[in-house]
Subunit: 418 residues, 2 copies
């Protein structure tokens, strides 16, 4: 392990092949933004896009813009762009609704197929440490299935095969854990699950745009994820759902709204799902929020994914090493895997006063976030963070810990959003 | 019936107590916009609001805006504002997701309660002429219920009681029919349905913001609707769901995402629904699109609803009378009820060449829309339309019919969105 210096970090920034991307994002003065894994920074182009949608497409085009501005095609157009990034194949992805709603669709579709093909399988497997909405949605889906379905949770660190047997219908995991940053191997886990006869549904919320993904090659059955974290789509921008081409004609989902109909404007009385991925659409989408997703994707589609991953790992390595070197006297416990093959693009530490420490950091403009219990979480976004940012962030952390600056009543509890 | 003149229409505009509202909306030059029942015109304030959300709240506030800009409270805050307009009572409404998704939640919740309270009831009643997505969603919900549930459709013009018996669990109707503009009486239909032991779920998409509504006083059980039509929320702006206070603690719905949890940030493994209307939330909402809903609601909350309704009826009366007087030689058939008590805020006519006639109108800047089969639909929005607009629109229609200007290949088929 090197002994790091500020100058060494500055030299890495000068040599960084991705350094020019930072200029494409609007970031406030005096802020080191380490929460792009929760809400990605704004592409400068997003403001002009929003103005165009609101002033011109809505204000002047009015109802005509559903056709003339391509609004109705947005879920599929953005889906195809995103699929290029995720290696998903053509016609496999739509941008629509929320991650929770899309997971409901995916799990419902998977459960229906399994109930038909192998009705004895009544278990859905996930992780106890999964992002809670994934677990809540599994509960919701199970409530619609009738019969004795069961949610089986594996504990962090336990091998997945302990949960796999002939009773499992579906396994659903987050590719990168929202708290620890732990990364599953997409292809090998998918193969392991499918070998037991279960279907594999991934949540890519904390990996899409942060980690190279080859969805089609992984053999996965379905995936969902969000666009407002590493993909920079804007606050609450619509999520996505991907369905393997081989399944599309067979899978159906219960949120059978008119956007998923084979002929949405024929105004027929009976539902007939669209032949393709569009059957996973439901209702009319929030066009202004959705349109800005394109400006986020645009930057990602111009980045070499290998360079992105290399920089991500270099930045998270640096963070981990600096904390060890500069904050070694303080009770910080790394909970993110050190192994590159098991790490996403954020790093997390436990600290007994994690909540107050994070508030003190935020007050100094170093914006990470806090997650129960005791977790300081730092998102690393290679498109708009450099090595000096990491140095400065850890120096702020060191100073706060050395001076106990976190230990004031100002840094009381509040709520936050992932 | 008066014989109308252009001058008489101009005099009515001069006397119109709502005439100043027009200045609050951005409308293009040379357009008479008769499709505000499909996509409402843009409040001028919406552009500044979008810019503030994108440039300041997202760009500068970043993740902090979930708290500091009140993003997380938006569904409830907008819901309370909307509930004031709809007479829904406090804490009964959230703005969230799409109408289709919200109808899925409402029908699922209603069906669960009925399955528990009166399990023999296995029929959901609606109208054959309902907006198709409502029927498709009923199909989707039935698919999740197990057992022998049935959709029973009444034909247009038939009395509702023909469909009501002790097997009916839920009745769901559109308050105003999307095609004909036919208006149901909210309170008396609700009472009629509930007298038979069924629950009443309304779709207010084509009436919210167009017709005075007293939801709580009507005794209805649940309602959903959209904000992008008469409420001017912007393209695809999030929809709403209202649940009668008396039901909130008992009703639950399967889209059990983290925004509906009693403690969304405690990151608990098991789902526990929020005590109030928030249990009908699911996932993270599209903040930019949602924020603009407030600028639409702002205008509506300053309008006297009686004046709005009076003007709406005067404008639709005028449209009907002018078509009779000025286009009487042409095969136009009014399909909107003449009785004020049965009319929403749009008027529709059948014409054998309806599609081409509407394209010819749009080409002249008179923007209504076409609905299968053969229906010319004209939305009347009293906040930004005047009596002279109706005169000019009918004159354009008359000229197109008199000169057969619709009869060219330019006006071939395309698709449109309601």
């Amino acid at each position: 392990m090197n002994t790091w210096t500020r100058e060494a970090c500055e030299r890495l920034d000068e040599q960084d092949p991705l350094r020019d991307f930072r200029g494409e994002f609007a970031l406030p003065e005096g802020v080191i933004y380490l929460d792009g894994n929760s809400l990605g920074a704004r592409p400068k182009a997003a403001l002009e896009r929003a103005e165009r949608v609101v002033a011109d497409e809505w204000g002047l085009g009015l109802i005509r813009s559903w056709n003339s501005a391509g609004w109705f095609d947005l879920p599929g157009r953005l889906g195809d762009q995103l699929s290029t990034l995720l290696g998903g194949g053509d016609g496999t992805t739509v941008v629509t609704d929320t991650t929770s709603v899309n997971l409901f669709k995916a799990l419902s579709a998977a459960a229906r197929i399994q109930a038909k093909d192998t009705p004895g399988r009544r278990v859905i497997v996930s992780e106890r440490d999964n992002f809670p909405t994934d677990l809540y949605i599994i509960e919701g889906v199970i409530g619609t299935l009738g019969g004795d379905y069961e949610l089986r949770l594996i504990d962090a660190g336990r091998p997945l095969d302990e949960a796999l047997d002939e009773s499992v219908a579906i396994v659903t995991l987050s590719h990168v854990n929202y708290r620890t940053g732990r990364l599953w191997d997409l292809a090998s886990v998918t193969a392991q699950v499918q070998d037991t006869g279960a279907l594999m549904v991934w949540d890519l919320s904390h990996s899409a745009g942060a980690v190279p993904i080859a969805l089609e090659a992984s053999g996965a059955d379905m995936a969902v994820g969000c666009t407002y974290k590493y993909l920079n789509g804007g606050p609450g921008s619509p999520a996505f759902i991907w369905v393997a081409k081989r399944h599309q004609e067979r899978f159906s989902q219960p949120l059978s709204g008119w956007w998923g109909h084979a002929r949405p404007f024929a105004m027929e009385t009976a539902y007939e799902p669209s032949a393709g991925i569009e059957r996973f659409l439901c209702g009319t989408q929030p066009i202004t929020s959705m349109s800005m997703v394109e400006t986020g994707l645009d930057a990602h589609l111009r980045v070499d994914q290998t360079l992105l991953r290399d920089k991500s790992l270099a930045l998270t390595d640096l963070f981990i090493e600096l904390v060890a070197q500069r904050c070694g006297d303080h009770p910080l416990t790394l909970i993110t895997p050190r192994d590159h093959g098991e790490r996403g693009s954020h790093v997390s530490f436990r600290h007994p006063e994690g909540y107050a420490v994070m508030q003190a950091l935020i007050a100094r403009g170093v914006i990470g976030d806090y997650r129960e219990p005791e977790v300081l979480r730092f998102g690393v976004t290679p498109l708009y963070l450099g090595f000096s940012d990491i140095w400065n962030a850890v120096e702020a952390l060191r100073d706060i810990l050395d001076t106990r600056a976190w230990d004031t009543e100002d840094f009381h509890r509040r709520e936050a959003v992932t």
